[in-house]
Symmetry: D3
Subunit: 305 residues, 6 copies
Amino acid sequence: MEQANRNVFIGATDDYEAAKVVLFGAGADATTSYRPGTRFGPAAVRAESYGIETYSPYQDRDLEDFPFYDSGDLEFPFGSPVRQLEAIEARAGEILDDGKIPFMLGGEHLVTLGAVRAAFKRFPDLRIIHFDAHADLREEYLGETLSHATVMRRCYDLLGDGRIFQFGIRSGTRDEFAFMKAGHVITEPFTCRNVEKLNCCGVGKEAELLGGCDVESQPLNSLTPIYLTIDLDVLDPADFPGTGTQEAGGLHYDELRCAVTDIITRFHVVALDNVELNPSLDLSGRSTALACKFLRECLLAMSGS
Amino acid sequence: MEQANRNVFIGATDDYEAAKVVLFGAGADATTSYRPGTRFGPAAVRAESYGIETYSPYQDRDLEDFPFYDSGDLEFPFGSPVRQLEAIEARAGEILDDGKIPFMLGGEHLVTLGAVRAAFKRFPDLRIIHFDAHADLREEYLGETLSHATVMRRCYDLLGDGRIFQFGIRSGTRDEFAFMKAGHVITEPFTCRNVEKLNCCGVGKEAELLGGCDVESQPLNSLTPIYLTIDLDVLDPADFPGTGTQEAGGLHYDELRCAVTDIITRFHVVALDNVELNPSLDLSGRSTALACKFLRECLLAMSGS
Amino acid sequence: MEQANRNVFIGATDDYEAAKVVLFGAGADATTSYRPGTRFGPAAVRAESYGIETYSPYQDRDLEDFPFYDSGDLEFPFGSPVRQLEAIEARAGEILDDGKIPFMLGGEHLVTLGAVRAAFKRFPDLRIIHFDAHADLREEYLGETLSHATVMRRCYDLLGDGRIFQFGIRSGTRDEFAFMKAGHVITEPFTCRNVEKLNCCGVGKEAELLGGCDVESQPLNSLTPIYLTIDLDVLDPADFPGTGTQEAGGLHYDELRCAVTDIITRFHVVALDNVELNPSLDLSGRSTALACKFLRECLLAMSGS
Amino acid sequence: MEQANRNVFIGATDDYEAAKVVLFGAGADATTSYRPGTRFGPAAVRAESYGIETYSPYQDRDLEDFPFYDSGDLEFPFGSPVRQLEAIEARAGEILDDGKIPFMLGGEHLVTLGAVRAAFKRFPDLRIIHFDAHADLREEYLGETLSHATVMRRCYDLLGDGRIFQFGIRSGTRDEFAFMKAGHVITEPFTCRNVEKLNCCGVGKEAELLGGCDVESQPLNSLTPIYLTIDLDVLDPADFPGTGTQEAGGLHYDELRCAVTDIITRFHVVALDNVELNPSLDLSGRSTALACKFLRECLLAMSGS
Amino acid sequence: MEQANRNVFIGATDDYEAAKVVLFGAGADATTSYRPGTRFGPAAVRAESYGIETYSPYQDRDLEDFPFYDSGDLEFPFGSPVRQLEAIEARAGEILDDGKIPFMLGGEHLVTLGAVRAAFKRFPDLRIIHFDAHADLREEYLGETLSHATVMRRCYDLLGDGRIFQFGIRSGTRDEFAFMKAGHVITEPFTCRNVEKLNCCGVGKEAELLGGCDVESQPLNSLTPIYLTIDLDVLDPADFPGTGTQEAGGLHYDELRCAVTDIITRFHVVALDNVELNPSLDLSGRSTALACKFLRECLLAMSGS
Amino acid sequence: MEQANRNVFIGATDDYEAAKVVLFGAGADATTSYRPGTRFGPAAVRAESYGIETYSPYQDRDLEDFPFYDSGDLEFPFGSPVRQLEAIEARAGEILDDGKIPFMLGGEHLVTLGAVRAAFKRFPDLRIIHFDAHADLREEYLGETLSHATVMRRCYDLLGDGRIFQFGIRSGTRDEFAFMKAGHVITEPFTCRNVEKLNCCGVGKEAELLGGCDVESQPLNSLTPIYLTIDLDVLDPADFPGTGTQEAGGLHYDELRCAVTDIITRFHVVALDNVELNPSLDLSGRSTALACKFLRECLLAMSGS
């Protein structure tokens, strides 16, 4: 008799030991202030994955050659962000302690805090590269300090000045932009003045701060661990309508794909996430399809890093 | 120059003092385990109300003759049920202390606990009449004691045995049904055996327990205060698809309307709510339309009680 | 080379002369006060018709045995109700003058006035049988006398007291219900008190007024011409969500089908319409499917009348 | 490290040997003539199942006490009905040969033919009980003999006169109804004349033909093997809009649930199916929710048969 | 007791006197020939506004520093364009007479004619800058002279040759393009030949005609009053699907935002509008979100002009 | 009495003899592996066409000046690809034998094989220009050799090496890309390395292979017959969500329109198609609108070729 259907991302191995990267889902959205539903993101991406190829023509690589493990979704109560973050920190920490790279699928952006805590505990020199439409730098939001709108500020509380690099930001309060301009996080010159779009060469200035690697031939500084967090609403809503707080004027898919695979290839990413897919907001299904292919590209880029 | 648009339920008075009933919205849905979005319920009902008549041919009454006040929505952080319940209890308590009847619009069913606390503090002899597809009697749910799936159990913790009367229940765990059958709450004989549908005469047995009033001529026992909570998913999903956890085989609109207006007319309802409308799940809009007309019927029935 | 696709209702003849009934579309919705789109009704019904059988097991008749003609849709400017009504009156009049029965597909309910004018001019003794959720008896609506909400009042202005028979009404202003209760139109006892649902036997009282025919064997009074107008929102929104102003608690399909085929069979219907399908409000498509099959049943009933 | 997510119907056992019933999905829809998409039915039902309780208050039974196995979905090429039917026959045959009951989830109705072939080969005395809105008795459809519209005719070719019992039929061609009336299949008196709705007592006449068991105390005739096929479009579209060819005037959920659990309890069902859920046609999700709970009820009824 | 919810655009002042700009809604769509629903535009934008920040990082300005007033929506009968235009002209005129700038939210594009009449009566030297996918220059449409498809021709009748400047036009009849090419309105060279996209520098030629201001340092010619009308379907449907007549190949959000804020800053805009948002056509909600943020940018640009 | 509605593409002539191009629909989708529904494409495009102008400002041409014929849709059984391809080959062959150009509207991409067979039989020197997101070069798919995923491989089997020119490909298996790189089809350098977007000048290299025409002044080589097949999923899903297998990072409308009208103008296109519109996947309707306008542009370009 045949086995029942498997429910992991396409191409995942059954051999945990062999895997370099370990996926897990963290479908929490308790603090979402507008149109919740990102909790369905990880399941939607897994289901969709059976409709895509394991091969990427962009990178000329195939998931079948790259062992990664899919450890399934965390189960936790809705309505309890503190306990959700504890569960996330525990799972990410376990993966890190096994010498592997945790790759978390959100859920709302707050989940990043749990994984960042795990990574920071093990890599005190951690930097964060952050793609997002929103600054997420509020001190508090509606009286709460733990929220999708405060998550990068909480990360800042851990890491300190000059260690968070933001791309694609085009929405925030006056206070958040003042905080950026004061240099606590590095967003200049991407958004404050020109709100220019990112391109593949755009990571140059950050690269300098990280130890320099904007010259193609320069070796990656392996002493600088990176947490890479990608809020998919950094994309233009035309490309990615399936997210709760859409901001017109975002990156296009090729821009994001190119920038992120470039960053993964050059830098020492020790943990990463993709968050804020809300499949129910896009009846055409293209947001889930995009998230699925983007995840494949991230996994394949990790295989060569 | 004209005033800006008003945003209250149709027919609401500007004179708080004159009002017998006070509406307020509590659009919380942090613990919703499946398809959140009831937070948009109160706003949807208010917006829809401008498309309906203030007159009910069923009751031959008009909202224009009945002063009620709409005090707007509570604002509270998402992701913090404890604080949400505190805010609800405060608002409902304030209305009760002013000698008025609080009428809360959810939001998920957990919000009922806040209003029940306020009512119970002022009416220690409180009973609850509960319309719902789900028993909501779990001791805990996914490790949490505060949840839409535990709300009636928490109410039971306050009120004790034999004070909660449930109608329309057709879903629950084995443990929840065992709890009912043990007599802690009164659901027999509506669901445990026959899952018979409610009809207008169906409140007879409960009426006896409440002091007896199934004979038309018998005066309402004014010493028995009632909290009336209506989870709109008690309705059949054909009539009301706009709710997160749809259970086939429910009541039809006329059954619910008739039963509820009958209960309001006969009993001493001191506080009430309508919860679990999730407008985004019904693109046809008929769930919001129904909720809006049902609210009108409840308000008009209160005017004669 | 094959012909291009035809675009008429399934089973329509090409022989105008042979037809007893002539369909035409009047997709006007200029005065719709909430969620317009009935203009797409006729096209949706025609397209859908190719997915249904021409045979009705309810009546054991087949459209292939009954010659009717589909004369296509009227084209008229949006935003000009006066000219739309003129075009409708002209088309309906032309069909009547050819000794045939006009069967109009709306469009909003206001279109009925045009066809009633044409019929009244030729049958001064005309009565109207009216199925609807709404009384449509306002003297004016938002300052306009021509509106979907006033259409039956305008018909009343033509026909006078006691000639309009309403079924299924469950929404209106206090003034409209007062107008009914004063006996200007015949709605008692269907809605004013009990809002009872119609059943097949329910036309008895009206039948008496029309000359009596509630006894099965009694011949149809051929001297009493009837205009039969069916606003499909008389149906329950669970059965028929595809309409702009949904009223919970309506008729079910079998009730309406049975009542209408019974009326057509017994009485002398000289013109009729089906109005207020708005296909875009029902993404499941079942409203259009129902409207399509209901139209088939009406056509087949006409064949035996 | 935790296991990856499982993807079977809730409550399924891992122990194939212990199982009495074996679920499998056959998501084929190649011959669907209008709005395909039933191929997504099995996956949707499995995913939804994690939102329901394993306990049924209707039957007071729990899936946790009843070992069934979920063997996953068949994979086959789209566009090749012949090969799809071969794959289905093979899977169903294998399950039957293991002494278990195959329970197939469609897919379009044509899949039933594969499973009926497997059952008929092993039970030459097989009868079929068939719930459907459509007769499915065409000799051919658009030139093809294998189609969702011909499936019961192909089953008739195998079984012969008087062995197929149809319930709920309300749509078909004149020829199909003539075929019924000629007695080749047993639909009288359910549809041909009155199109009456089925009720729990309605299986009496069929029961007689099957050996008699309409008296409660009479033992089930264990010599008469039954294939039970349920096209979910037998339900009213108000209850179940998520199907490709909706027919107004159908059964309500409680009617179907009651009739089917009654049949399963009384008769010797050797194989069964639930077909024609198309989740994409019901954005509210209630059709999938209903199909999921109906499947639970069928499984629980099997446990006691 | 708290106040009921307010229903104005976020950041609006309560002090009419202090306001420089006055918003009002004109949700008319009676002449819409295809997919009406823009009547819901103003309400959707107001509701959405509570989810955005009052601060714009593009302009580094905050609505809290800029007093504008929201005077609510006009109420008028549907189906009567003449009276709708009178009501619009009256409201816009009243605002102009108070020395303020009327900012109208449509509604279909025909509403622009009412506001242009008011502005032209007070500024006989008026020019119109017009962003749109469609020329809207028909002499009549389906026999009507007042229509969304004729609105700019009616404006031309008032203003005369060479006073209307069109951007983004990519759809029209041969006659409309001939009218442009004859120089009655100024669209050359943007659309007639190359259908090139607009960029921020693109207003140069128009600037010359208006008195010259394509040199950054040149002061705005304050003697040339401008009516600025923006049909949001000038945007690409990928960015803005929520409009009734979508034309592929349009402007992207950043292009429009940049061009319009540039125009507002340089020229003497005396009245303006944003029209043709139809929220029901975009279930993802991003069109309403975009319209809301674009309105914020327009308001903030007015504050500095 | 007026004629019934016509149902052909806007501007089509009634005079078959006069037509240079003959449209026909082939709404087959039996082998679609994910989200079928392209069968509704041709009907949706025809219905939509009545909302667009016959004039193109891009080409300054009008369909009214160019006689083309619309011969309607093929009717064939679903679930039988072999017979569908036979019907398509017959229709396309008949049109070619009449000295006209067949223009097929899909349907899934497999339909192209039928028309290519007809063209190849009459033009043995045939080349194919192929726009698509997917290579469609699999040897087999799920065990079937006839499938939307194998269609270009089957065309290759007919035509042989170096005769298929692919644009826009960004998805496929490792084997398919190896097949391209081996030179069997010409996709270098568009996708294999850089996945660069196509621009109007991009056909240069192919032009050389076809006989050279990348220099503007060089006359078209009339000896090289071209079959032009355009899978609309070559477009970016932001522009065209209405297709079953969306691939982010595609062409924008203006890029495709420009490239295709350029190719038609320069080369000797003897047959062509537009395939893979699935209208039900795009509730905003913009995909159908785009497909409709793109078809107009193709027809107008043919008029000048």
